[in-house]
Symmetry: C2
Subunit: 299 residues, 2 copies
């Protein structure tokens, strides 16, 4: 059973942080999200790559139990080039080459259509909506986005949000999208768009889950060395949907656990470049850190 379905980007990233520099490494929202989800379930990806995309990456995804039959091949792979300054808070873009992404026609394989859990990872909101319309009876739709779509496709984005059950976004995106510095106000505005829950990722400051009547605050993990924060948000969303599709429990209590698993995977991901840290952890590491998260919030 292929579940969850994840649509997003598969990219080749070149980036520099105060801790090093990498060129043409595996990146993209669907890559991070599917790898994080694969610790809990068997995701299927929808994305586009180019002929220049190294085969070894697809082989790696497959080894992790990720179905890649929904990845189509265009001309040239989507590329992002950027850097982080000393405070590591914000990715600065040097260059974005959309390449094959510009003419991406989503093709949803038949064996994806029965999936119950869908993660609309960061990509054009029109593509997100198109995918959503192809899945027969989704039980839970989680979506992420980024500032680029808030600025350039606001109307389409709000339309897609209206169809999602859970909106996941980071604090600056929440402030920008709902035009308020106050995250509680932003979350309440999001809940009015018929979403069942809003999750605000705050990097080092943890994550917040709003479900209307309840509020949950997941701690931030105390990382002394953040090598590369790229993909932390995507890893968060992937682990969240992966855990929910595994447990099939959408209670608020279980959503809290999913938010913590999201935080666990994001905290690991920041410890190395690209997907290198996720490549080297196992379920025992994840459970160990989950327990650490529990201990550090106890009083």
């Amino acid at each position: 059973m292929i579940d969850p379905i994840i649509i997003g980007t598969v990219a080749l990233d070149s980036l520099e942080t105060p801790f090093g520099k990498v060129d043409d490494v595996l990146g993209g929202s669907a890559s991070y999200a599917s790898i994080a989800a694969s610790f809990f379930s068997n995701p299927g990806i929808l994305s586009i790559i180019g002929k220049d995309f190294p085969k070894k990456h697809i082989e790696f995804l497959n080894q992790r139990g990720i179905n890649t039959s929904g990845i189509v091949t265009g001309n040239k792979t989507f590329r992002w080039k950027g850097f982080y300054e000393f405070d590591m808070n914000e990715a600065k873009t040097i260059k974005t080459e959309l390449n094959a992404l510009e003419s991406y026609n989503v093709q949803v394989p038949d064996d994806y259509k029965g999936a119950k859990y869908v993660f609309l990872a960061n990509i054009d909101p029109e593509l997100q909506l198109e995918v959503l319309n192809s899945i027969k009876k989704p039980e839970l739709v989680v979506m992420d986005t980024m500032n680029f779509w808030i600025e350039h496709k606001r109307e389409q984005l709000l339309k897609t949000i209206g169809k999602a059950d859970i909106l996941v976004l980071n604090d600056s995106e929440a402030r920008q999208l709902f035009d308020t510095p106050n995250l509680v106000k932003a979350a309440n505005a999001a809940l009015k768009l018929h979403t069942r829950a809003v999750i605000i990722k705050k990097g080092e400051h943890g994550a917040l889950l709003f479900t209307g009547s309840k509020y949950f605050n997941a701690p931030g993990y105390p990382l002394e060395n953040i090598k590369d924060p790229t993909g932390c948000g995507d890893s968060f969303g992937g682990a969240l949907i992966g855990y929910l599709s595994k447990t099939k429990d959408l209670s608020e209590t279980n959503l809290r656990k999913a938010v913590v698993y999201g935080s666990v995977l994001a905290s690991f991901n920041a410890e190395d470049f690209s997907i290198e840290r996720l490549r080297n952890i196992n379920s025992k590491d994840i459970e160990g850190r989950y327990k650490e998260f529990r201990d550090m919030g106890k009083f």
Copy 2:
């Protein structure tokens, strides 16, 4: 028994936030801290006011069980004038009139000298050290500071920190004092100065407690309307020392509880101007919100 002893400023503040404007209201680190502490114990203040200071404020402090015999009277009360912009994150100073504070000679009443708990609230670090030297056998010294002293009296500040058991400061001060964007690194640097614990206040993002081997993350309280954040940090420190002097338990487990009580009082304080909200809450309100803090971190 007068305990804890709190040295800090007693001020008349004039300020504006997007939610209103007040003139010459009760302010100052010792005012906020002692009121917050008074919900748990019987603090004594060390500070200076001017002949222009309204008697009603002293009467109010006394009604709350706060000993004010350590407040001396100089010429004119310390005044701060400032404002907050829409994001409420940072106080912008329009004018600071030190007035009587400039020639403040600390006079520690004899019945203060046997106190076991000392809170060196934000004030000149040389005055903090002088007070500390007057207390016979303090069991716990907690200190706070602000960017002004980091910039202008760095050496004296570090000397005072070396004598304190617990350093409490906000995230931007921690980054500035220890010259790193990473709060874990800042906390570790602070622990090397022979402090037993470091508490980093992060406003809406909660508070962190570092004790070397352990790490605690208190949630941020979801306030939709922050009327005036002035004195939140001081209320935090006051509640912390008040709770510790009441419980006389310096275990890491109890420090966590003290951090949460600090967060509870700070969250109330932000809900109205000056000390107005603290004036109107009672122990039941505090316990109710403490329970809310517990619920919002549970998973």
